[in-house]
């Protein structure tokens, strides 16, 4: 393939915040009636002033540190002036580094898993605009559209990379790693609809840069880039000029198309926001933040492997699902048995929740708590229940939220270790499976078959070790 240079501009909402960037309206605007999450500040009513959310500064600084950026001693906000109906003040409060560094993060290096380095030019904190609901067709051809300002003023982190990517695959690796990082430092729940967006610029053979806007999920980014590379290659091979332009991604048709407005000609007339004085972060800001900052995915991975002695495979599964990793560690606090708990979580537990729901917040409303899992694992370890029974009990806890021991007692599902009971069970199986019993005297596979039958007969509750001993005894000392 010919030389490709790709740069990214990522917008991630700080979904961890309770309120918006400059007012006390809710940060989570989702599932609310249109224009019910608004106030004089986020609607830009005359006379209202922005009040900076201190937590947003901390979250964006954490993001900067996680992406290897420097966090300057002082930060500033700028106004980016442009007219658009979703922008209540017709300017966006953002950050800008052209007249000297003033954004929350600058000059970062972020390493992909294959050690390739991506330079992060800047990270800035800014406000999200409102949303335009198109009834049909685009805004330019319809008489009216609907405006919803619930999202206006939500805190956004903009991450801008240098054009250091040379393939869509690298971009995918980067975005996966970035998502995971944002999740683990508790800044952004990237699975929430619209919480992450990406603009991409692509140039080939040192030609003009084409910007692709409107890519509303990380999944679509790779597709958009592939399309754009194919489009530009085709132009290039026919000796046609690649225009310097802004294109949009149509995620229904899976194509990029030229945008109507000449966005590259915009003059945003940036100037310092007079209503927010320069913010001096102070000497201890970064060091204090580092102390409080949650572990990054790779730090956490190291910890899982070295401290909890989990396998790399198990650790990876947990780390790749941040909420599951949190659940795992919460369970450890109740009962420290990492291997048993991890195995239980990544197998039986995970398959249950994956069946159960597609919602991103699946662990939040779950009736099963770390305490349940801890108790369940204790019961397995104490030889009170079998693994098979444990899974059945888990299903019941999922439905009822009852404690495992309660379920166990209610359903009489504790493990059967009583010799007499088990001997009766073995006798019943021997009576039914006469030919298998004959086989088993010479064939060890048939012994396992008999054990399976005993387990089935006891609904999985038989202690397999004792049952096996009884079967062997009975086979070789039939008189006893």
């Amino acid at each position: 393939m010919s030389l490709v240079m790709i740069g990214l501009e990522i917008h991630a909402q700080i979904t961890a915040l309770n309120s918006k960037l400059f007012c006390s309206c809710r940060g989570n605007y989702r599932e609310l009636g249109p224009n019910t999450n608004i106030c004089e500040i986020c609607c830009g009513l005359p006379g209202s002033l922005p009040v900076i959310n201190q937590k947003a500064i901390e979250y964006s600084a954490m993001t900067s540190l996680a992406l290897g950026c420097k966090v300057p001693d002082k930060i500033m906000f700028y106004r980016k002036n442009y007219f658009y109906p979703d922008l209540p003040k017709n300017f966006q409060i953002t950050q800008y580094n052209v007249y000297g560094y003033s954004s929350i993060g600058v000059d970062g290096i972020y390493e992909l898993d294959d050690a390739k380095q991506i330079r992060i030019s800047r990270i800035q904190l800014e406000e999200d605009p409102g949303r335009i609901a198109y009834s049909e067709g685009s805004m330019n051809v319809r008489n009216s559209v609907l405006l919803d300002y619930n999202r206006a003023g939500v805190a956004l982190i903009e991450i801008v990379t240098e054009p250091d990517f040379t393939s869509p695959k690298e971009v995918r690796q980067f975005l996966n790693k970035l998502s995971l990082t944002l999740e683990h430092i508790d800044v952004c729940d990237t699975l929430l609809e619209g919480s992450v967006r990406c603009d991409v610029n692509v140039s080939m053979e040192g030609g003009n840069k084409v910007e692709i806007k409107n890519i509303n999920s990380f999944r679509e980014v790779e597709k958009a880039i592939n399309y754009e590379i194919a489009r530009q290659s085709s132009l290039y091979s026919r000796n046609l000029k690649i225009e310097l332009e802004t294109r949009h991604w149509d995620d229904r048709k899976k194509i990029t198309f030229k945008s109507r407005s000449k966005e590259e000609e915009h003059d945003y007339r940036y100037f310092p926001e007079p209503d927010i004085p320069i913010i001096v972060l102070g000497n201890d800001f970064v060091s204090n933040l580092k102390k409080r900052m949650p572990d990054l995915p790779n730090q956490r991975f190291e910890c899982f492997v070295s401290k909890y002695k989990l396998s790399e495979h198990t650790s990876n599964i947990l780390i790749n699902d941040k909420k599951l990793a949190d659940f795992f560690e919460a369970t450890l606090k109740v009962h420290f048995s990492p291997t048993e708990i991890a195995n239980f979580l990544i197998t039986d537990f995970k398959s249950l929740i994956e069946d159960d729901s597609e919602s991103t917040d699946y662990l939040k409303n779950l009736k099963v708590k770390p305490e349940h899992i801890a108790e369940l694992v204790k019961l397995i370890e104490g030889n009170k229940i079998s693994r098979i029974t444990a899974k059945d009990i888990l299903v019941k806890i999922f439905e009822s939220g009852m404690l495992p021991s309660e379920v166990m007692n209610n359903t009489n599902s504790y493990k059967i270790a009583d010799e007499k009971t088990l001997m009766d069970a073995v006798q019943s199986v021997f009576d039914k499976e006469k030919s298998a019993v004959e086989d088993a005297k010479t064939n060890s596979e048939a012994i396992n078959f008999l054990l399976g039958k005993v387990m089935k007969f006891t609904n999985g509750r038989a202690d397999p070790k004792i049952a096996m001993r009884i079967i062997n005894n009975k086979l070789h000392n039939p008189d006893k």
Partner: protein
């Protein structure tokens, strides 16, 4: 007893609390006065008689039940119509906000209400505060109560005229480049532009955020102190507000070092400079030293001011697109961008001029040449003034270089109009407090003395003004209406 509407604020509070008259009687007297003179003055854009009367009754009830009525109980306050008042239309004297009714009170309004002050209505101004005469009001100009053929000054012209004409006890104005002090001077009342940050701007409809402050206009220094103390304070809703200590009235004026700014005297009308000199003699009489000094960077002040103010205005006024609030203009037949353009044609000439200038000085390629340079000159001037304040307690000069002028005299030439702001913009650029105090007349037209002090040294301004007010004997009440 004289007419109730003639009383000063502290007399009103004492009278109502002491049972001499009820708040309702007082408000009725004020409303009667408005009825008598408003047709000649046009101070008000919106009068809320009903709201005022019901607030007065509430105070009377509280007094009857011996509840706390607040330090400003019963005084009527006229509010410049660029300060947001919940449920009272707030137009900025613009057609673009003709139908705009705020859903919230500005912080200063909350303070006033909490302390028993009665919001009487909304006062005229130049559209969005841009002007020095009220001639740029999109409704009608306000007339000077000392001579109806003359302008009352601006942009808080309604606030100056209403107080001078006793249509309200006191008023609030806003001052971006002199908009409180100019009408205070032209209407012979006291007006204070506080230190930047002393008073919350939350709810003040922004013209130039980095320059402006809300401040009171009153008929006495005592009233002014009451008002400043109530509206001052750190406000969580305004990142630029700063805590300050209250001002007291009975300080004995020490031996202060005062300096007259030479350039402001020489640039003034002869009668004005004569009056200011004689006021400065009073300073000497009360034991102050009085030097004459020069401000080196003074000639940068006006260009720097108009560059910065216009830049900020161009961005502040961008929000008026008539989508969320505004005036009646159907959307049919427009695309969104042509609709925006159509809406914004409804700005007045001066506002359009400043939006254009502001957009120009911020555009890429011109940012460093104009905007940044203006900021640097502003810092330079501020630094020079702060250095001067190490040596001098107060800097004085005329508030306005000329006495009030007639309608139409300067409206055709923007530069001529901008030039009358030369003395007042200094304090806004430097963020320092400045007061205008009536000190004399020229052919029956008022002349004001401007006193400036270092940031948060309002106490010195008040001490000096209070002494001067007592020692200068001038006519206090206009007979023209």
């Amino acid at each position: 007893m004289s007419n109730l509407h003639d009383l000063l604020a502290y007399e009103v509070v004492a009278g109502i609390n002491g049972g001499l008259f009820s708040a309702e009687e007082y408000v009725n007297s004020i409303l009667k006065r408005i009825e008598d003179v408003e047709s000649k003055l046009h101070s008000f854009i919106t009068l809320d008689s009903e709201g005022a009367l019901s607030a007065a009754k509430k105070i009377d009830r509280k007094i009857k039940e011996k509840e706390d009525t607040g330090e400003l109980a019963g005084i009527t306050v006229g509010i410049k119509d660029n300060i947001s008042t919940k449920n009272i239309r707030t137009t900025c004297a613009s057609k673009i906000l003709e139908d705009y009714v705020p859903s919230y009170d500005a912080t200063v309004i909350k303070h006033l209400k909490k302390n028993g002050a009665i919001i009487l209505g909304k006062l005229n101004l130049d559209e969005f505060g841009m002007g020095s005469t009220t001639e740029y009001s999109r409704y009608q100009p306000t007339h000077n109560p000392w001579n109806l053929d003359y302008v009352p000054g601006g942009s808080s012209g309604g606030s100056g005229a209403a107080v001078a004409a006793r249509e309200c006890t006191v008023s609030l104005g806003s001052d971006t480049g002199g908009s409180i002090r100019c009408p205070a001077s032209f209407c012979s009342v006291v007006g204070l532009k506080p230190t930047y940050g002393r008073v919350s701007r939350y709810g003040l409809i922004s013209y130039a955020n980095s320059l402006e402050q809300i401040g009171p206009i009153c008929r006495s220094v005592r009233d002014l102190v009451m008002m400043v103390n109530i509206i001052s304070g750190k406000d969580e809703m305004d990142n630029t507000s700063i805590p300050s200590s209250p001002i007291t009235l009975n300080n004995k004026l020490g031996k202060l070092n005062v300096a007259i700014i030479k350039e402001l005297i020489t640039g003034s009308d002869h009668e004005v400079s004569r009056t200011i000199y004689s006021a400065s003699e009073k300073f000497k009489e009360i034991g102050c030293t009085c030097d004459e000094i020069s401000i080196k960077n003074l000639h940068y002040a006006l260009p720097s001011y108009y560059t910065l103010a216009s830049a900020e205005a161009s961005s502040n006024l961008a929000r008026y697109d008539n989508i969320r609030y505004g005036f009646d203009l159907p959307v049919e037949e427009y695309k969104w961008d042509t609709y925006f353009s159509k809406v914004r044609e409804n700005f007045g000439e001066e506002v359009k001029r400043r939006i254009l200038i502001g957009s120009y000085v911020l555009s890429s390629g011109y940012y460093s040449k104009y905007y940044l340079k203006a900021r640097r000159l502003r810092s330079l001037l501020r630094l020079e003034l702060l250095t001067l304040f190490k040596k001098y307690d107060l800097l004085i000069g005329p508030t306005m270089p000329i006495p009030p002028f007639k309608f139409g005299e300067k409206i055709d030439d923007p530069i001529k109009m901008y030039l009358v702001d030369i003395n007042t913009v200094i304090a806004n650029l430097a963020g320092i407090p400045a007061i205008s105090l009536p000190v004399g007349f020229s052919n029956g037209l008022p002349i004001g003395l401007q006193i400036m002090a270092a940031p948060f040294e309002e106490q010195k301004l008040i001490d000096a003004s209070y002494d001067l007010e007592n020692s200068i004997n001038i006519q206090r009440r206009t007979n023209a209406i």
